[in-house]
């Protein structure tokens, strides 16, 4: 057999083999691999290149070596899933670098980290002042995770005691002017509903690039024609304003009427509407 045919066959074989092997090795991102994985990936890559370029005297040996590395890596990963001991062996353990706001110099030394590097990593996590850090840990991938002191953490709606409406992820129902049936059906809506909504907004289907429906059933559209002001849903705001107006009117009636009973009734209902508005606010105004 001619050499070029051999190289061709071998390269194709290695190509397919590696494709399968890499899929088997999981979805780990290259930026997040441990040193052990980095080494095994490089060895596999170099071996594959050598075998496929016919640089080895005996290609069978190359295949054996490649097989050992691929199967060994996959087997170790499987064992690591099953056993904590193996997991610690190949991944190592994370190192606590800052505890209770104090830097653990011993750990820094063990991890071969200088103070400069620690500060740079903290800055990358937006912790410019060491005083703001309660806890920091060096992950096995080399990343540093930072836990800020409780008063330096970003405030959440809960901290501010604001009631928020539960929101689930929106579904994309139109892409590139095409209606996507599956997400629409998962919301319990159909094409007729979408047609009516688009008609209400005054846009045609061909002009819609992306349309999303949120969990409350409101439609947001982005148009191809960017010179047109995007018609956005204002129904909720209008509903809130309408109820607010009703509440104001009832209060006014209570002031105008001479009838004691009617006054009481108006006041009671104005109060009811006020409570209702308070309850609906997180749902209607975002």
């Amino acid at each position: 057999m001619e050499t070029w045919v051999q190289v061709l066959i071998r390269s194709v074989a290695i190509f397919i083999l590696l494709l399968a092997a890499v899929r088997f090795m999981g979805k780990r991102s290259i930026a997040r691999i441990t040193p052990f994985h980095a080494v095994s990936y490089i060895v596999i890559a170099v071996l594959a290149a050598l075998v496929s370029a016919n640089a080895l005297i005996n290609p069978v040996l190359g295949f054996i070596s490649l097989g050992v590395w691929v199967i060994g890596t996959i087997a170790l990963e499987y064992l690591a899933l099953k056993s904590k001991w193996v997991h610690d062996l190949i991944y190592g353990k994370e190192t606590v670098l800052i505890k209770h706001g104090r830097v653990m110099e011993q750990s820094l030394l063990k991890a071969r980290l200088t103070g400069e590097e620690l500060l740079r990593a903290l800055r990358a996590k937006n912790a410019f002042s060491l005083a703001d850090v309660e806890f920091a840990v060096l992950e096995t991938t080399g990343d540093i995770s930072v836990f800020m002191k409780s008063d330096k953490k970003p405030a959440t709606a809960r901290d501010l005691e604001i009631k928020t409406a539960p929101l689930t992820e929106p579904q994309t129902v139109i892409l590139d002017g095409n209606i996507l049936n599956e997400p629409l059906a998962s919301l319990g809506l159909n094409r007729e509903w979408l047609g009516t909504q688009l008609e209400k907004l005054g846009v045609s289907l061909d002009n819609v690039f992306i349309a999303q429906v949120d969990s409350s059933g409101e439609l947001y559209v982005d148009l191809f024609d960017d010179s047109v002001q995007n018609p956005q849903p204002k129904v909720k705001e209008m509903l809130y304003a309408g109820l607010e107006k009703g509440q104001a009117d009832l209060s006014a009636f209570a002031l105008q009427t001479q009838d004691e009973n009617a006054k009481k009734m108006y006041n009671k209902n104005a109060k009811k509407l006020e409570d209702l508005l308070k309850m609906l606010k997180p749902y209607l105004l975002k």
């Binding site: 409406a165 969990s215 009117d249 009832l250 009617a262 009671k268 009811k272 209702l276 609906l280």
Partner: protein, 68 residues
Amino acid sequence: MTVASQVKQVLAALKGSQGTLRLYAAQTQEEETRAVYDEAVDTTTEIIRDLEKRLSVLEYQEPQYKGN
């Protein structure tokens, strides 16, 4: 504009709002949100009932404006 027609206006607006609330209650996916909208529909129903009662009293007192 008479008092009765003012009340009528508010009543109509409230009924419109109630319809929108009912629509939201029907099309929302979450249980919690639906419960809030359902409660809102109930509250508006009570208010509408009170206003309708008041309206019939007003129309009885001022029959000449009835239907305006």
